[in-house]
């Protein structure tokens, strides 16, 4: 906008105080690129690096536009988006701004800013609001940086709490609450995992013998006690990498992973049965149980199917019961089992 009573030259002249307030980071150069004056905030940058400003090109490297390194080329900066790097200091402070030629070609005026590096600059130079023009959004930027950090902290905390809650819920969903063993859902997912990975495993189906009598004669408290004792025994007799699950009232399933032959499966099964057979003492009452086990191996099958494995382990378990309980049976492939049926 022009006002008739003022000329352009009038418009362009300000007192140095006014210039300092309007552009606290300005730099005035003469035609030979000597620094004539500079704004107070830029002064703090120079002071911080113990610089006495003399020649522009001793102070700054012009990164953009490229190829400007001598006084004769200064005019190439005019009207361009200028990017400078301070030569002093190890942090190579980057400044950006605009350069305009002054009326009558008396020199150049550069107005600079810290750009995205404003937070670091404020910290390094201990700048205050007074170091920025009121039109500068630096303070709002600092506000936003802190607001963002505070919000991120809250979100991170919320995510941690949600993650913990999720893990607890998952744990609950996969656990049999009475015994702390895994439940059927956990068992199925573990079998899927092992089959998917092609890891070999043995599957034990274990039914407690005489458990119903304990429950009926000594009560549910005694029954619950026995189930917890059984859980303890099964945990002791297996490795931590194995899976022990309670899948029904007195029905348990064990997965022993990385097992390929029967040779040491029967000894394990025998140890389990021996431990189950030891009478348990519940508040002065003796609880006597035993267990029957049916076993099958994933390596028996070309492509193991969860349903088939369960059915076969059940068939072997049935055979153990039929043969008088308190024993373990290994599933035999088609011909012998057919005989049993």
């Amino acid at each position: 906008m022009k006002n008739a009573s003022l000329t352009n030259a009038d418009m362009a002249s300000f007192s140095s105080e006014a210039l300092d307030r309007l552009m606290p980071m300005h730099l005035l150069l003469d035609g030979r690129a000597n620094v004539i004056s500079y704004g107070p905030t830029l002064g703090r940058v120079f002071q911080h690096h113990n610089i006495t400003p003399g020649k522009f090109f001793d102070l700054f490297a012009v990164r953009r536009p490229t190829g400007v390194s001598t006084a004769r080329k200064l005019s190439a900066l005019v009207g361009e988006r200028v990017q400078l790097t301070l030569k002093a200091g190890e942090d190579s402070l980057s400044l950006r701004g605009l350069c305009q030629e002054m009326a009558g070609a008396r020199g150049f005026l550069l107005n600079l800013s810290f750009g995205i590096g404003v937070v670091d600059a404020v910290r390094a130079l201990s700048l205050t609001e007074a170091d920025f023009a009121p039109t500068d959004l630096a303070i709002e930027m600092l506000y936003l940086v802190e607001a963002k950090s505070a919000v991120m902290r809250e979100l991170r905390d919320l995510n941690l709490r949600l993650q913990e809650a999720r893990l607890a819920a998952e744990q609950q969903a996969l656990t049999d609450t009475l015994t702390g063993l895994r439940n059927r859902r956990a068992l199925e997912s573990e079998m899927h995992l092992l089959i998917g990975r092609g890891t070999s495993f043995a599957l034990f189906h274990l039914d407690l013998d005489y458990f119903k009598q304990v429950n009926d004669t000594l009560g549910h408290a005694a029954g619950d006690f026995v189930l917890r004792q059984v859980a303890e025994i099964l945990s002791i007799e297996t490795r931590t990498s194995d899976t022990v699950a309670r899948v029904g009232g007195d029905e348990f399933v064990i997965i022993l992973n990385r097992v390929e032959d029967y040779d040491f499966l029967l000894p394990i099964a025998d140890r389990i049965i021996a431990a189950l057979t030891v009478p348990m003492d519940f508040e002065g009452q003796v609880c006597k149980i035993s267990g029957s086990i049916g076993i099958t191996l994933s390596t028996n099958y070309q492509s193991p199917d969860i349903e088939v494995l369960h059915a076969d382990a059940d068939a072997a378990l049935y055979e153990s019961k039929r043969a008088g309980r308190g024993r373990a049976t290994v599933f035999q492939t088609a011909p012998p089992m057919a005989k049993l049926a």
């Binding site: 506000y143 607001a147 809250e154």
Partner: protein, 196 residues
């Protein structure tokens, strides 16, 4: 209501009066959960119910509690981040008063779904100001009184504050600034040291 506000009230009650009082407030207000997540939203009735229950449990007028809440928001060490965000509002207390009108916008810049009370400042000259505050909960003007009192301390200003009651949709406060630099105030660096 934004969870941040409910969570602030929760923290204020348990930090100032102990977890037992907070549990009693939870029971009495029937808000269900004993924990507000600061990044989630809750029905506004819960905020009112919680404040009323706190007033009954502690046998203290709600207005007094709200004023203490405002002071707590600025003064408690856990909320240093909030104090700093408020201090970005201006170099001195007068500057700060003038940026209060931007408060809802500043809040939204930080959290787009955060609603803060609309505030209008009337400069009556000679250090006298009127603040019109559109309350989000009944008595929110008292929170502003407590907050302004603490911020005046922070800036080192000497002020007299009063809640003048309601005028239509607004709660009206009077602010009388006696001395902008009565004390040195609390230090404020624009940027925190690295790692804080």
């Amino acid at each position: 209501m934004h969870g941040l506000i409910n969570r602030s009230i929760q923290n204020f009650l348990s930090d100032s009066y102990g977890p037992a009082v907070w549990s009693a407030v939870v029971r009495q207000s029937e808000i269900g959960s004993d924990n507000f997540e600061p990044m989630l939203s809750y029905p506004s009735e819960q905020t009112e119910a919680m404040l009323n229950a706190a007033s009954e449990t502690l046998r203290r007028p709600k207005n007094e509690l709200l004023e203490d809440l405002g002071t707590y928001l600025v003064c408690h060490p856990h909320l240093e981040a909030l104090r700093r965000l408020l201090r970005f509002g201006g170099v001195g207390f007068v500057d700060f008063l003038h940026t209060l009108e931007d408060l809802p916008d500043r809040g939204r810049l930080a959290l787009s779904d955060l609603e803060l009370p609309e505030i209008i400042l009337l400069d009556q000259g000679d250090g006298h100001y009127r603040l019109h505050c559109a309350p989000m909960v009944d008595g929110a003007g008292f929170i502003v009184v407590g907050l302004l009192r603490a911020m005046a301390d922070d800036y080192g200003a000497l002020v007299l504050l009063d809640h003048l009651g309601r005028e239509g949709a607004y709660e009206v406060l009077s602010v009388h600034l006696l001395d902008q630099s009565y004390t040195e105030g609390k230090r404020f660096d624009l940027a925190l040291p690295v790692g804080q």
